[in-house]
């Protein structure tokens, strides 16, 4: 597609439930990133996929968070046993391999509200 697509755009869930967020990167973009944007805070790095290399999971805040990506296609971010502090906008970005940081394209995000 023309841009990075994220779904759903909004998600309201009850505390303790699991949620799955989806990111469709731009075709051909080998690198994919997940960021979290909590109210009044900057974007926090969560996880980074680069082709078939092992992902950089250094930003995941707890073992309740996990993400998968098969090859250079769709990625899913899963949050288990959601807590109220997980409420945030979750942003996905992709970029081609050789462009470096200036090649990032961000999606519109998924707004997660845990009640």
């Amino acid at each position: 597609g023309a841009g990075v697509s994220q779904s759903p755009s909004n998600k309201v869930t009850e505390k303790g439930k699991d949620v799955e967020l989806r990111c469709d990167p731009i075709s051909g973009h080998t690198a994919l990133y997940w960021y979290r944007q909590r109210l009044g805070q900057g974007l926090e790095f969560l996880i980074y996929f680069q082709g078939n290399s092992a992902p950089d999971k250094s930003g995941l805040p707890s073992d309740r968070f996990s993400a998968e990506r098969t090859g250079e296609s769709v990625s899913t971010l899963t949050i288990q046993r959601t807590q109220q502090e997980d409420s945030a906008v979750y942003l996905c970005a992709s970029r081609p391999l050789l462009t470096g940081a200036y090649g990032y394209t961000f999606g519109s995000g998924t707004r997660l509200t845990v009640v």
Partner: protein, 114 residues
């Protein structure tokens, strides 16, 4: 480790007035610097970037920023703002060797008033 500080959480300004959004960074190595804009209910859009060369960088929509290594700053400026510039602005940094992960500031909400 690298970090970015945006001291102003909100900046109100009248239309056609000049504006400066401040950004300071810390890093022990060379950096690449970026400004992103986020319009309501939209994704982040790259405004401009500093990678190397001239310290004055021009971006889209009439914005420019100046890299000042001695002051570790990368302030964003526009000589005359328009109502359509109302948005959230994020400064971000990548340190060379940092795996191309962007570190963002907390953002500055620019509100342009008539």
């Amino acid at each position: 480790a690298q970090s970015v500080t945006q001291l102003d959480s909100q900046v109100p300004v009248f239309e056609e007035a000049p504006v400066e959004l401040r950004c300071n960074y810390s890093s022990s190595v060379s950096v690449y610097l970026f400004w992103y804009v986020q319009y309501p209910n939209q994704g982040l859009q790259l405004l401009l970037k500093y990678l190397s060369g001239s310290t004055l960088v021009k971006g889209i929509n009439g914005f420019e920023a100046e890299f000042n290594k001695s002051q570790t700053s990368f302030h964003l400026r526009k000589p005359s703002v328009h109502i359509s510039d109302t948005a959230e602005y994020f400064c971000a940094v990548i340190s060379t060797g940092g795996g191309n992960k962007l570190t963002f500031g907390t953002g500055t909400q620019l509100k342009v008033e008539l």
